[in-house]
């Protein structure tokens, strides 16, 4: 243990599945201070382990990085989280996804700040990690099981003192947007479950008993109590009362709810899917991640006696309005199916909605692919999970599917860099549009919180200008720190100055004299590190854009009727963003990065 840096162990565990070997590798204090943990540390380790090579994300050599953070194990609310970082098989760019709960605490207590998996087993395996070492067990009997069944069987087989991160059939079958799941939560975006599946790794179980030291424990407890107290207040009320699904009717009223593959911004059956309505007719339960005082998870029964289903805004939008499905039972069942198979709901819904539009336009001849067909949605999810029939094509995501279909369909494939858009209509939320375009992992509302500017009186959300890009930079920087510390974003409303207050947390945990200014610089460094990785993997400025549909057509209905985002405006915003970050107009970090001889700084 590295006693000099409380909150850390100063090392990561590197497991090579090809030879069944593990070793501990040191992490210096300066690396930890510059990258903190979570996505920052994960990006650093990924780049180190990749060593400049352009690896196929599904090849044995490709690293899969799990990182914890200095705050894990502390009494700070919402701090029980881990990040998973790898090159995405969906985007071929960096992907960093977060998940919550006991896996983070048990994993860190094995005495490591991160776990890196490389290599590939010859047959399916379960990897068990304790403070004493690793063990690999045959997983033939688990292979093919869905996620809840796998977790239950692992608990019976190896004990519930282990906490498990598992993949479902989608990960085994290399669905490019398969998830890694733990206790009902998913590291959901970008297909990291397929990376795990490509290594023949069904599950990782962690059980540690190492003590995690903190620099100023008394002050940390006092601060934790104060943050917890604030977390019961108005800033988090939406999450406690309605959950994120509370966005549905609000977005619908504002005309920003992506509907029928972004053809409209308003869904006529939104009221039937809204939590306000579901609450009236269904059994409801509420859950929290470990160490969380907010509890944003709202679960609704599909049918009496069935296990209730977790419903979040993104599941709801992607499997409901996006596919034109307004039957709540079908949307809940679809959400449940995604959870069981280990499929990212946003990418699944986006890709199926894209196929529905292609079929309605006569570009493909797939039976039943019509907006509103919940039965088609459910069947498609099953087929994606085992790559059966058209499910094999759908499992590739909308960008590769568009490539197969051709006929100009890429213009309305709902993706940026291959990652399907979340439920924010970019023509009507133009700060978010910029965030989607420049995001290192593709169209994403978690690494860029630019929608916060759109939902304020500081910008005209339907006519964002270069003067407004600082909000996109600021929210991206905030996310870089929140995701590296790792705290839940739903806590952000309780802070008055996020950087100063998060610096105080880090200082109390580590003993470092960190201030808000240092954290701002760390944020910029983390954003640049991810960008640098992408450049090394072949990124070009042409990737930082949105699908043609958004740049050439205006919204026709709803409160955002007429909202348009001409290409020139988006280009000006991107240019202003790049210059605001101190990069070249095109987005290169320095002239050395540019392989194009016409590149001007």
């Amino acid at each position: 243990m590295n006693a000099a840096t409380p909150g850390y162990f100063g090392r990561y565990l590197r497991v090579d599945l090809s030879i069944g070997w593990s070793e501990s590798k040191p992490l210096s204090e300066s690396v930890l201070r510059k990258h903190i943990g979570g996505v920052g540390l994960g990006a650093w380790i990924l780049r180190e382990e990749t060593n400049g090579q352009q690896l196929d994300p599904l090849s044995p050599e490709a690293p899969l990085v799990f990182t914890f953070s200095p705050l894990v194990g502390s009494p700070l609310t919402t701090s029980a989280k881990f990040a998973v970082v790898a090159k995405s098989p969906l985007t071929q760019r960096i992907n960093d996804s977060l998940a919550s709960s006991h896996f983070a605490i048990a994993g860190k207590k094995t005495g490591h700040d991160a776990i890196v998996i490389v290599g590939r087993s010859e047959s399916p395996k379960v990897l068990l990690i304790t403070s004493k070492g690793i063990a690999l067990h045959d997983a033939d009997s688990y292979w093919g099981m869905n996620i809840p069944a796998t977790e239950d069987s692992l608990k019976t087989g190896f004990g519930s003192h282990y906490r498990y991160a598992v993949i479902g059939p989608a990960g085994e079958n290399l669905v490019r947007y398969a998830t890694i799941s733990h206790d009902g939560r998913h590291a959901g975006r970008g297909g990291l479950g397929a990376v795990m599946g490509s290594k023949f790794l069904k599950a990782i179980g962690v059980a540690g008993d190492e003590r995690i030291p903190f620099a100023h424990p008394k002050e940390l407890v006092a601060l934790s109590k104060s943050v917890s107290q604030k977390s019961f207040g108005a800033a988090t009320e939406k999450y406690r009362e309605l959950g994120t699904a509370g966005n549905l009717l609000v977005f619908n009223r504002l005309g920003t709810l992506p509907t029928r593959n972004f053809q409209e911004g308003q869904f006529e059956q939104a009221i039937d899917l809204a939590p306000e309505t579901l609450t009236l007719s269904r059994d409801k339960a509420r859950k929290s991640c470990a160490a969380c005082t907010i509890g944003c998870e709202h679960l609704y029964s599909v049918e009496k006696e069935e296990k209730p289903v977790r419903l979040e805004y993104e599941n709801l939008f992607a499997l409901g309005p996006m596919c034109g499905v307004g039957d709540a039972d079908q949307v809940l069942k679809a959400s449940q199916l995604c959870d069981e198979l280990g499929i990212d709901t946003i990418s699944a819904g986006g890709t199926i909605a894209f196929a529905m539009e292609c079929a309605e336009r006569g570009l493909i001849d797939w039976k039943g692919y019509e907006f509103g067909r919940g039965d088609t949605l459910l069947a498609a999810l099953e087929k994606i999970g085992d790559r059966r029939d058209e499910g094999d094509l759908l499992a590739e995501g909308s960008r590769l599917l568009a490539k197969q279909i051709g006929q100009g369909s890429i213009a309305f494939a709902p993706q940026v860099k291959g990652l399907e858009l979340p439920g924010y209509e970019p023509r009507a939320l133009q700060s978010m549009a910029l965030g989607f375009a420049v995001g290192t992992r593709g169209a994403d509302h978690n690494r860029s919180g630019a929608y916060q500017a759109d939902f304020s009186d500081s910008v005209d959300r339907m006519n964002v200008t270069e003067a407004d890009v600082s909000a996109a930079i600021q929210t991206e920087d905030e996310a870089a720190i929140i995701d590296s510390l790792i705290l839940c974003k739903f806590l952000r409303g309780v802070f008055e100055d996020k950087f100063i207050e998060m610096a105080e947390m880090l200082s109390l945990v580590t003993g470092w004299d960190v201030d808000g200014g240092e954290l701002r610089q760390t944020a910029q460094n983390i954003v640049e590190l991810k960008k640098r990785y992408n450049i090394e993997q072949g990124w070009t400025p042409a990737e930082d854009t949105l699908p043609e549909r958004f740049l050439t057509s205006a919204l026709q209905t709803g409160a955002s009727e007429g909202a348009a985002l001409p290409r020139e405006r988006l280009e000006r915003l991107i240019c202003a963003y790049n210059l605001g970050r101190g990069w070249s107009e095109e987005g290169y970090l320095s002239l050395d990065d540019c392989v194009d001889e016409n590149c001007v700084d």
Binding site: A234, A235, E237, K238, Y239, E241, L242, T244, G246, N247, L249, V250, F251, R253, L254, G255, E276, E312, Y313, E314, F317, P422, G423, Y424, H445, G449, Y451, Q452, D454, F455, S456, D457, D460, R461, M462, K489, F490, R492, G493, G558, A559, S560
Partner: protein, 90 residues
């Protein structure tokens, strides 16, 4: 300035607190409107609005197109004023 007939639409957790979707008011500026809203719905006074101002964390939208927090915002007849939580995290 004379009072205009406007509709306030309650969204999200505000609707949960009020128990219905909308209400009609006569007001000339948002200041007057929020004062009336606070009087009619005591459960909102001190929570979403306070003495004619919006509390932090809440936002108003004029006809669903433009957000504002300014209490001086003038109102026109037929305006729909949306009252909602400012947190759109999903």
């Amino acid at each position: 300035m004379s009072d205009s007939h406007v509709t306030v639409e309650f969204l999200g957790i505000v609707r949960q607190k009020v128990g219905h979707e909308q209400a009609e008011f006569m007001a000339s500026r948002l200041y007057d409107l929020w004062t009336l809203v606070g009087e009619k719905y005591p459960q909102l006074e001190g929570v979403c609005v306070v003495q004619g101002q919006l509390k932090n964390g809440y936002l108003a939208s004029i006809d669903g197109r433009r957000f504002t927090r300014s209490a001086n915002e003038p109102l026109s007849a037929g305006d729909h004023i949306l009252l909602l939580s400012a947190d759109a995290g999903g």
